[in-house]
């Protein structure tokens, strides 16, 4: 049996771990899921430590939470952070079947554990006597040396595989600048540089479209992404109002009251 402290730690952290796991499954955005998962993993690392697996606990934090989850986050960013998943089911009956299967599976698993005769509880005191890392090392380099070597090969292969998979072979000659220019002309695209954003002497932010001579905003002057997100700050009305105020002021100053429209 374990100490009371561990019991308290278990019950507190177990709740956190389960919540994290649930959040991983239920969050609509992949980033949130990733963060929740990271939380659960850290909790698991604590459990490893509590179970005497000191090396694994550290590795869990460094490798899993550090490296693997970072990898996940990178991919999430490459794929698009904003794309929130719709949680609406598209395959008919999938959710019901999944629920049934998972429920049955869980219940059976629990029943299995409950049925199992888990009476022995030796503790790792003896095994960890010479230090946990040393104990592990002794096993890895003796009993499990072949498995270890093979996992090495696996890792190398995985690294190469990842490179091969993501590598894109250039199948055609790169277009020269001249060809690009010609294509541009042929395609009827905007030939000169796009108009710069901002309104002279008033705004210089990228989200403010330039104004055309008639005072309407020039859409092209704003970044496509911003336009797509609708984060464009339209200052045309403001500018026109300013202009009107200016005129008013100058007329006031020149005392042309009677000509006021």
């Amino acid at each position: 049996m374990t100490s009371t402290g561990e019991a308290v730690q278990f019950w507190v952290l177990a709740v956190v771990a389960v919540l994290g796991a649930l959040a991983t499954v239920l969050m609509r955005k992949a980033v949130h899921s990733a963060l929740s998962l990271a939380g659960t993993m850290i909790v698991l690392a604590v459990f490893y430590l509590a179970n005497g697996a000191y090396f694994l606990g550290i590795v869990q934090i460094v490798v899993y939470t550090g490296a693997v989850m970072m990898l996940f986050l990178f991919v999430v960013m490459l794929v698009g952070v904003t794309a929130a998943d719709s949680l609406k089911e598209t395959i008919r009956g999938q959710r019901l079947l999944a629920g049934l299967c998972v429920l049955g599976f869980g219940v059976l698993l629990g029943a299995g554990i409950a049925n199992a005769s888990l009476h022995r509880f030796d503790g790792l005191g003896q095994a960890n006597a010479g230090g946990n890392v040393q104990g592990l090392a002794a096993l890895i380099f003796t009993k499990y040396v072949f498995a270890f070597e093979i996992t090495g090969a696996l890792l190398i292969t995985a690294a190469v595989g990842a490179m091969v998979l993501t590598h894109r072979e250039r199948t055609e000659r790169a277009a020269t600048q001249r060809e690009l220019a010609e294509a541009r002309v042929r395609g009827g695209k905007q030939l000169p540089p796009l108009p710069a954003p901002g309104v002279y002497a008033r705004h210089n932010a990228v989200d403010v479209p330039a104004l055309l001579p008639d005072g309407t905003p020039a859409e092209l002057s704003v970044n496509q992404t911003l336009r797509a997100r609708g984060q464009v700050r339209d200052v045309s009305a403001e500018a026109l109002a300013d202009l009107a105020a200016l005129e008013q002021r100058s007329e006031d100053r020149l005392e042309r009251k009677g000509k006021k429209r």
Binding site: I91, Q94, L97, A98, L100, C101, V102, G104, F105, L108, L109, A111, G112, N115
Partner: protein, 645 residues
């Protein structure tokens, strides 16, 4: 002498082979080769006849086994020949009349581009017919039997470009096949009964078999005879067979092949004598056909079809006689021979008339031809007198004997049969006079009719007006055979009857007995004469004294039925053709829908099930994952359960 028998069959067979395979090189000489072959076989036949004559009366049977044909287990069929008085009579008739008709055809078919082939077929017919009458067992006879059927098929359909000819040929073959079923079953019955089907053993031991068996064999043989000899109920093909060239009608469908049934019955005399039921059936068939053919003959306007009806009727006489047993066998054969002469002569005459009349066959468009075709008129007239049984001519002798024999059968049966035969004689006289009068006497109806009483002139008639026939006598090559046959029809009967020569000649084979006729021979003769005169007179008054309309009048119910072969074809059509059609179509549907449908249905079921199962394989990884988890859950459950148990 034995070798000659084989040669008799072989010569025309070789002739046919040479003519049919010889190609166009033989086109110019083919018809003479064919005629020569026929003449040669006649010579051989004559030599054999002479040889037989030279032997004692009870030793006139020659047996030759050429080779073992089908030896299987206890089944031995030999290619063997048997020559006796009966077969040699046929041989002479076949080769004699055959040679004459070959000669006639040289002229008749002169303008046909396929004449060589025609002669090839004729030679093939001779070979098959000779095989039929010379075979020493029923199986070999069967070969000849079907061989003549084939030749008949080929010759009826010789003008194949005419769909009617092709159809008639097919019909003839098919109806004959129905008869052939009878013959083959008869042979099988003989085999199971006697273990053999050679004439000798079967006929010698016929009395030892059970009567039921013999009756069955007899009835089956009768079926075969009905098919080949156009007896009721298998008579329907003969009228249509007139689509063939006229020499064919003369040779095959008048003189020889159609009499094969009579030969078969006479040859199997021992079987029929021991099976009274079968014999009664034979007589009944003969009597019915005799009247049937005669009635049909009265109504036909097509000269050849009228003669075909007559043929049917005359063979009816022969079958009737053959069915009378030893009373009549000899007379059946005698009538067969004389009929061979006069009917062949009549057909050749008809052919000669058609030859001169642009192949017109409708007697209503003839008339007054005696001036234009004197030879044809005289020969035809002699044949006519012979067939109606004019005293002194051959038909008189043979038919009279049959009528006598019919009365001699005794009892009610005798009276009925005799009456039928007499009635038949009257009708024969009537329709033959009708043919004679319509063709050679009266006004010349073939001249273009300026008469306005025919406003609805059919297109065919209009076409005929364009090419008005110019009746003319046929060339010598055609008239000579007619003259010879006419001579035969005048003299044969008389010659046969001198000192009962024919009876003495044939009785060792068929047996013969004089019956006790309830009426005297003279009475019968007198009665025959009376009915004959009545028939002639009636026809004369009906057709000779009054003008004959070119378009046939509507006629009485009987006439209309008779024109349609007494509705036989209609019945066949409704029962067999239409019924068969429905059956066949229905079966085709069953085959496609049910039998094949079951197979295709199984395939479709498997396919459908797979298509449904395939939907599980939707490609969604998550669906697969669900089934994986489900499977795992089941496995865990199973493991736990195993533990629990």
């Amino acid at each position: 002498m034995e070798n000659l028998i084989g040669l008799l069959v072989l010569v025309p067979l070789l002739g046919a082979g040479v003519l049919l395979c010889g190609g166009r090189r033989l086109d110019r000489a083919g018809h003479w080769i064919g005629t020569l072959v026929a003449a040669l076989s006649f010579v051989i036949g004559a030599v054999l006849f002479a040889g037989l004559l030279g032997r004692a009366a009870d030793d006139r049977e020659l047996d030759v086994t050429v080779f073992s044909w089908v030896p299987v287990g206890g089944f031995h069929a030999d290619a063997g020949f048997q020559l006796d008085q009966l077969s040699v009579t046929f041989v002479l008739l076949i080769t004699g009349v055959g040679s004459l008709i070959h000669l006639y055809s040289v002229g008749y078919m002169a303008h046909d581009e396929r004449r060589r082939r025609f002669f090839g077929y004729l030679n093939l017919f001779l070979a098959a017919m000779l095989l039929l009458v010379l075979a020493d067992n029923y199986l070999l006879l069967y070969v000849g039997w079907e061989g003549v059927g084939l030749a008949s098929y080929l010759l009826i359909g010789f003008w194949q470009h005419k769909p009617s000819a092709a159809t008639a040929a097919k019909k003839a073959f098919l109806v004959n096949r129905v008869g052939d079923v009878g013959l083959s079953i008869a042979v099988m019955l003989m085999f199971t009964t006697f273990g053999t089907f050679a004439f000798g053993p079967v006929l010698d031991h016929a009395d030892r078999a059970g009567e039921g068996r013999l009756t069955a064999i007899g009835l089956m043989l009768l079926l075969a005879a009905c098919g080949k000899s156009a007896q009721v109920p298998l008579q329907s093909w003969l009228g249509d067979a007139m689509e063939g060239p006229t020499p064919v009608s003369a040779l095959i469908h008048a003189a020889t092949m159609v009499t094969a049934g009579v030969y078969l019955i006479t040859r199997s005399a021992a079987i029929f004598d021991a099976a009274p039921v079968a014999q009664a059936a034979v007589v009944a068939v003969g009597a019915v056909t005799l009247l049937f053919g005669a009635i049909v003959g009265c109504a036909k306007d097509d000269i050849k079809k009228a003669l075909a009806g007559s043929t049917m009727s005359q063979i009816g006489y022969m079958v009737l006689a053959a069915g009378l047993g030893p009373l009549g066998y000899v007379f059946a054969i005698m009538h067969l021979v004389t009929h061979g002469f006069f009917k062949a002569g009549l057909f050749l005459g008809a052919g000669s008339v058609m030859h001169g009349m642009n192949d017109e066959v409708d007697m209503r468009r003839y008339g007054g031809l005696r001036k234009y075709m004197p030879v044809t008129f005289v020969t035809f007239g002699l044949g006519y007198l012979a067939i109606i049984g004019f005293p002194g001519l051959s038909g008189f002798f043979s038919k009279d004997k049959i009528i006598e024999a019919a009365f001699a059968k005794g009892g009610t049966e005798g009276w009925i049969l005799g009456g039928a035969a007499l009635l038949g004689a009257a009708i024969t006289a009537y329709y033959m006079t009708r043919v004679m009068v319509l063709t050679f006497f009266g006004e010349e109806r073939w001249r273009p009719a300026p008469s306005p009483d025919e406003p609805s002139a059919e297109p065919a008639a209009a076409a005929h007006e364009g090419a008005m026939p110019h009746p003319h006598e046929s060339p010598k090559v055609m008239t000579i055979p007619m003259i010879v046959l006419a001579a035969g029809s005048v003299l044969a009967g008389g010659l046969f009857s001198i000192d009962d020569a024919f009876v003495r000649w044939l009785s060792p084979v068929t047996g013969h007995e004089e019956g006790n006729s309830p009426v005297g021979a003279l009475t019968v003769t007198a009665a025959t004469m009376v009915v004959m005169v009545l028939g002639v007179a009636l026809a004369w008054f009906q057709y000779g004294r009054r003008p004959v309309p070119v378009t046939p009048p509507r006629g009485s119910l009987l006439t209309r039925a008779a024109r349609r072969d007494l509705l036989q074809d209609d019945i066949n059509h409704i029962v067999l053709v239409r019924g068969g059609d429905h059956l066949v179509r229905g079966l085709a549907r069953v085959d496609h829908g049910l039998v094949d449908g079951a197979v295709n249905g199984t395939a479709a079921a498997v396919g459908g099930a797979s298509a449904r199962l395939r939907r599980l394989q939707n490609g969604f990884a998550r669906s697969y994952a669900v089934s994986m988890f489900g499977g795992t859950a089941v496995l865990i459950a199973a493991t736990l359960l195993m533990r629990a148990v």
